[in-house]
Subunit: 366 residues, 2 copies
């Protein structure tokens, strides 16, 4: 039996547990704390930035993969040196870890991006603002997620603290109609499988709702899948890749961000697709044949649950027997992603209504 070691014990690792059981793969998790979401499969608790901790965890593991992209390059290099398979590999993860490097490489692949620049000084920021209507999106190259490390700016003073720490990324503030996400999976031996592109809705910079498929003409799905495939092949990504996209008011598709792991926008595939992103990630990193990405229903809608997901409230689910619940086993905390719900069906409005109704049952203001 192949042993897959996941670095990071969040809900992404947790949602790999079920598929690993069914595929007959042994899953082991290096968790941050004893109460991490994926604690059920934790075989080690420790700091993923520490080489010794990670190498000790990886002993006896066939394939190392990740719950997040934050493992430092020196740790990744040490892992590769032991001979264990690492998916995605260090070169791909380097691109996910540095938003400036990401833009350089995506540009080199000829992929569509918002106007961007590397800014190292107040003058750089001033020049970019002047060239882009006086407004820009500033991002720290490293460490940002879920709206952190991102700011909309109109003056260099808005980013003086960030600039003092090093270069930053500036991007045009895109006028978008909506946001999309293209998920693909790629095996080390080369096969790529793409799910239909999904529509995502953000609240306060965090994904709140996902619709599979994105309501659209077929051409959008072809274009988005081609972008996903090009990124996966061009950057040598193995496992699941999520490409966050903007659909602009002038009908362009631009790449926003990348994630080289299962992604919030792909939770909807658990019920909405023949093969979920979690099963597919395991198949991909283990270099097994990829599963079908066909949809199981005309529509699937996923809604995140923030704050608390109390099992006691399940008693109120009676009327919504067909909405599926995913509880991440986390302690309640304001704004924390603690679970999600998914509905499927033939009527898009009804599916969204049912998913939202169940998410509301769990809604708690903390």
């Amino acid at each position: 039996m192949k042993v897959i070691g996941v670095i990071g014990g969040g809900q992404l690792a947790r949602m790999m547990i079920g598929p690993a059981v069914e595929l007959g793969l042994e899953l082991r998790v290096l968790a941050e704390t004893p109460d991490s979401s994926a604690r059920d499969r934790a075989t080690a608790i420790g700091d993923y930035r520490d080489v010794e901790t990670v190498l000790e965890f990886a002993r006896g593991v066939d394939i190392v993969t990740f719950d997040h992209e934050h493992v430092p390059q020196d740790v990744l290099d040490a892992l590769v040196a032991t001979g264990v398979a690492v998916h995605p590999g260090p070169a791909a993860l380097a691109v996910a870890q540095d938003k400036l490097l990401m833009r350089e490489q995506l540009d080199a692949l000829g992929l569509p991006l918002p106007v961007w620049a590397k800014a190292e000084s107040v003058d750089d920021v001033t020049a970019f603002l002047a060239a882009n209507g006086g407004v820009a999106v500033a991002k720290t190259p490293r460490g940002g997620y879920d709206g952190k490390g991102v700011a909309i700016i109109t003056d260099p003073s808005d980013v003086s603290a960030w600039l003092a720490a090093g270069p930053i990324l500036l991007e045009e503030k895109v006028d978008f109609v909506r946001e999309l996400a293209q998920l693909v999976a790629r095996r080390p031996s080369g096969d790529v499988a793409a799910w239909p592109v999904v529509e995502t809705t953000q609240a306060n910079g965090v994904c709140s709702e996902v619709v599979l498929p994105a309501p659209s003409i077929d051409r959008l799905h072809v274009v988005a899948a081609e972008i996903g495939r090009t990124v996966a092949e061009g950057l040598g990504v193995t496992g699941v890749l999520a490409v966050e996209l903007f659909e602009t008011t002038d009908e362009r598709i631009l790449i926003n961000e990348l994630a080289m792991r299962p992604h919030n926008s792909g939770h909807v595939t658990i019920e909405g697709s023949v093969t979920s992103q979690f099963e597919q990630h395991l198949r991909a990193v283990a270099d097994l044949p990829l599963g079908s990405t066909a949809s199981t229903a005309p529509w699937a809608v996923m809604i995140n649950v923030f704050g608390a997901m109390d099992v006691d409230r399940y008693a109120r689910l009676g009327p919504y027997t067909d909405v599926k619940i995913h509880n991440y086993g986390k302690e309640p905390r304001a704004g924390r992603k603690v679970g999600h719900v998914t509905a499927t069906g033939a009527d898009a409005a009804d599916v969204a209504y049912r998913a939202r109704a169940v998410a509301e049952i769990f809604h708690v203001d903390i």
Copy 2:
């Protein structure tokens, strides 16, 4: 978080792991051996017939349930005495544990059974054979499964060894067109949910193939569901109940056997139904609202894999990307149930073909 303790570490307990993770229920397993199928969640290894072992396992558990019906009544009574919820309870399990008691109780509920009798002597057997065309199905009241403890007899000498050990069950040899199984789930607070009745095919007394729904007129589904509901309510079963049925050549539906737990005939619900039997069993024993039993596709076909389910053979699954694999993580052994595969779709013949093709990929003669 509610803690559910499963006695028995076979594939039924194993397939509860994924749903428990997603529902946010903590699953603990009392496994027979360290390499039991559900070893990932084993918190104890030991003999389920030993009161001390079981009570120690159940400490800190909210609800005890089962991978099989073989836990002795004195152990069950001791569990109940500690105050832990036990589902199904001892009274229901007593009926599942004794085929003679089962017939008595099903008769008392007015349910349709093959002609049966309790035989305690050679004369009893002779009389039953004479009254039933010279042939009968003999069963030991306790301990039989998967074709063991069952014999077709034409002479009292065929069962002399069994008779020496105590009373046996004799049943008419039913002329059946096919076998069916009705799965239902019942909460302690009373709600019952029934899946569509399935058609099952046996090979050498062991379930080999299941079709959801059983191809049939609607009336069969109504009758079978009513039988399932009556058994669950009449015997006070909590959790999943499987009622194995015969459809006879003269168009009667007769009860063959009962199982008070998830059942091989229900594996098809993992992909074929909105709520799988494993998720539903957890919901039911935890007294949570039951999930929808609606089908996700017009047809679903499950095929058991016997002998060995080698991960290396996954490489040959390429053409069958939409057939789902369930590997029980068991050591290979001739005739052993080691996994199953399920296909779904709109064309019954195509669905069966794809499921059989993938099962064949795993076929190994040991």
